[in-house]
């Protein structure tokens, strides 16, 4: 009795220490934002060629994962699988947490963050960005209503329709995120109809990986054991999502390779672009795909540890992919005069250089910290712990 009390005490202290740590990261991020406000974006690594940098890598990862994590809830409510249903509240919470973190980063990176409400006032109907402001706020509302319907008994009847609505909404949301890039027709890296579905499939993998990590930590924290059958099933699902996203990325590059005018870009991003191919092959392909796939599908790898490792690897791979995709995609110069060699004082015909500064990285981690705080506090004060009846295959 006394030892468990002492353990509880220790855990409590750890909980507050973790919160304080995350709070500190948020404060540091706010300091970075303040400095960016005062001195301008000159203190970041971003410039007129690489206009979106590290903050966007973090923000887009968080937003995409926020959509993908809802997959867990959807499988429960839309397809009626019991083990997923038990996890729907946690998935909803993670979604809100990551969406908050991602949007905070996106807004605080603006050149004029104090005007962030303007897209709502002066709405430009043709802008995907403007659509996304509706998609994001709608997602917040829907997921909160969905959580409410699950927690409040009298609202339970609405749980199913709300689950379906969330299911549809997050598809559109990730499509919208992919469209941000898909509509950039003039850029060789972007401007492809495959991007929205690619983002959707990647969101499944990233969201699932984040869910795994959080779930395992929560179980460990509460000294509970996740039933191995459940873990095994979810691990295999993650494996499937990884394969799916790898396939989409392969198709994206293959189609680019087929277009003669995009060959030089593919050469750059896959072969001789320095840091970008390195990050792509080592970071995304090896760590983000091969390693987790091996951990998941190799026989004799059934431990919790391998699931955790695989999930972490997927998250790291996701960041590597976005860095290559967003920043590498901009580093390659626009082709104003196809077939000609060009040069100018403004970086025409030249690979853009980008070195992320500590401030933008701090801002990115601030977003992660916000998501962490929301998750940790909510799990602490509300009942988000999955409750499984003893496992029966559906």
């Amino acid at each position: 009795m006394s030892t468990s009390f002492a353990l509880q005490h220790k855990k409590n202290r750890l909980y507050y220490a973790l919160l304080a740590g995350a709070g500190l990261v948020v404060l540091l991020a706010l300091y970075a934002v303040d400095l960016m406000e005062e001195k301008g974006h000159i203190i970041t690594g971003m410039n007129n060629q690489i206009v979106w940098g590290m903050p966007h890598v973090f923000a887009i990862f968080l937003i995409v994962a926020a959509s993908g994590v809802l997959n867990v809830a959807s499988i429960g409510s839309v397809f009626g699988k019991a083990i997923y249903k038990a996890r729907a509240p946690l998935a909803g919470l993670l979604s809100i947490a990551m969406l908050s973190g991602g949007l905070a980063v996106l807004m605080l990176d603006l050149g004029r963050p104090e005007r962030f409400m303007l897209p709502a006032l002066d709405f430009n109907i043709t802008s995907v960005f403007a659509w996304n402001t509706i998609l994001y706020s709608g997602m917040f509302g829907l997921v909160i209503a969905y959580l409410w319907s699950m927690f409040e008994k009298r609202m339970n009847v609405y749980s199913k329709p709300l689950g379906v609505a969330v299911f549809a909404w997050r598809f559109i949301l990730t499509t919208g995120t992919g469209l941000i890039f898909a509509f950039l027709t003039a850029r060789q890296a972007f401007g492809s109809a495959i991007l929205p579905p690619m983002f959707v499939v990647m969101s499944f993998a990233w969201g699932m990986a984040v869910f795994h990590i959080v779930q395992m930590v929560i179980y460990a924290w509460n000294d509970k054991e996740l039933e191995p059958e459940i873990l095994e099933r979810k691990k295999r699902l993650l494996g499937l999502f990884i394969l799916g996203s790898l396939y989409m990325v392969a198709v994206y590059h293959m189609t680019n390779l087929y277009f003669a005018h995009r060959m030089s870009f593919e050469r750059f991003i896959l072969l001789d672009g320095g840091v970008y191919p390195a990050l792509f092959w080592w970071g995304y392909v090896l760590i983000g795909n091969v390693l987790p796939l091996a951990l998941i599908f190799m026989p004799g790898m059934k431990t919790k540890k391998s699931a955790m490792m695989a999930s972490l690897a997927v998250v790291l791979g996701g960041f590597a992919f976005l860095y290559v995709f967003i920043i590498g995609g901009q580093a390659f110069p626009l082709d104003l005069f196809p077939g000609y060699e060009v040069s100018s004082t403004f970086g025409d015909g030249k690979i853009g250089s980008y070195t992320p500064s500590i401030y933008e990285i701090l801002l990115g981690f601030g977003g992660l910290a916000i998501a962490f705080i929301i998750t940790t506090v909510s799990v602490h004060v509300l009942n988000f712990m999955p409750h499984d009846k003893s496992y029966i295959a559906d």
Binding site: K39, I42, N47, N48, L110, G111, N124, R187
Partner: protein, 235 residues
């Protein structure tokens, strides 16, 4: 706006029968996209690249001076107009031309701007309304010409006629403050070879309209169908 375009498109489609009657005129108009804008004025430029001599920077200096740009060449400095040196890889033919905002009739920057800060004036000039710009830089991602710059640092001592400020995106305004006073853009005025011809594309009697009818001119990245207001001769 879009409705008007669609209506005009429909009109053009219905009027396809007219092709047989007056093929030359109609095909010309459709090919140049002129038919979908009823405005009396569309400011544009025709740039003769043969007059763009090696090492000459007069238009760039004039632009920097007129608009109060620092003239710095760091990747974070604004450059509203720049000179691109071009070499044909297969023939070795070399030439240069000034590149800036092409003032498209269908500007991608305007399409993507979430707040409507990027907009096209009635006379075809594409501008950033800095009162609305939130500094998201999506327009810079969308512009095929890399025409836009982001103000990375606080500015001081701006030209009273050309307000510019930190955290917003900016680009060539076709010297709108001069044009509104009936003057020419600074670059056109400064060009020692008079190679930048500025004028009203929609006035059939203007010098620029006459010349565009007479000589072969090109739009950069014409494949994107943006119907640029800046045209080049001799590419």
């Amino acid at each position: 706006m879009k409705d008007v375009q669609r209506r005009n498109f429909l009109k053009t489609s219905v009027g396809l029968a007219a092709v047989t009657i007056a093929p030359g005129m109609l095909l010309f108009k459709v090919a140049h996209g002129e038919s979908d804008d009823n405005s009396k004025v569309r400011w544009g430029m025709l740039i003769d690249t043969s007059g763009c001599t090696n090492g000459c920077r007069e238009c760039i200096d004039a632009c920097n001076k007129e608009n109060g740009l620092s003239g710095g060449l760091a990747p974070t400095d604004s450059q509203w107009i720049r000179k691109i040196e071009i070499k044909d890889v297969s023939t070795g033919h070399e030439f240069g031309l000034p590149m800036m905002c092409q003032h498209c009739a269908e500007p991608p920057c305007v399409d993507v701007c979430p707040t409507g800060a990027s907009f096209k004036r009635h006379d075809g000039i594409v501008l950033v309304d800095k009162h609305r710009c939130i500094g998201c830089r999506y327009c810079m991602m969308a512009c095929p010409y890399k025409a836009r710059s982001f103000v990375h640092e606080p500015l001081h001592n701006q030209n009273p006629d050309v307000p510019r400020g930190k955290g917003t995106v900016e680009s060539c305004t076709m010297c709108v403050h001069r044009v509104d006073e009936g003057k020419q853009p600074a670059c056109a005025e400064a060009c020692p070879n008079k190679s930048i011809l500025f004028g009203n594309l929609h006035d059939p009697n203007s010098e620029i309209a006459k010349k565009i009818r007479a000589v072969a001119s090109t739009q950069v990245r014409a494949d994107l169908n943006l119907n640029t207001g800046v045209r080049y001769q001799g590419i």
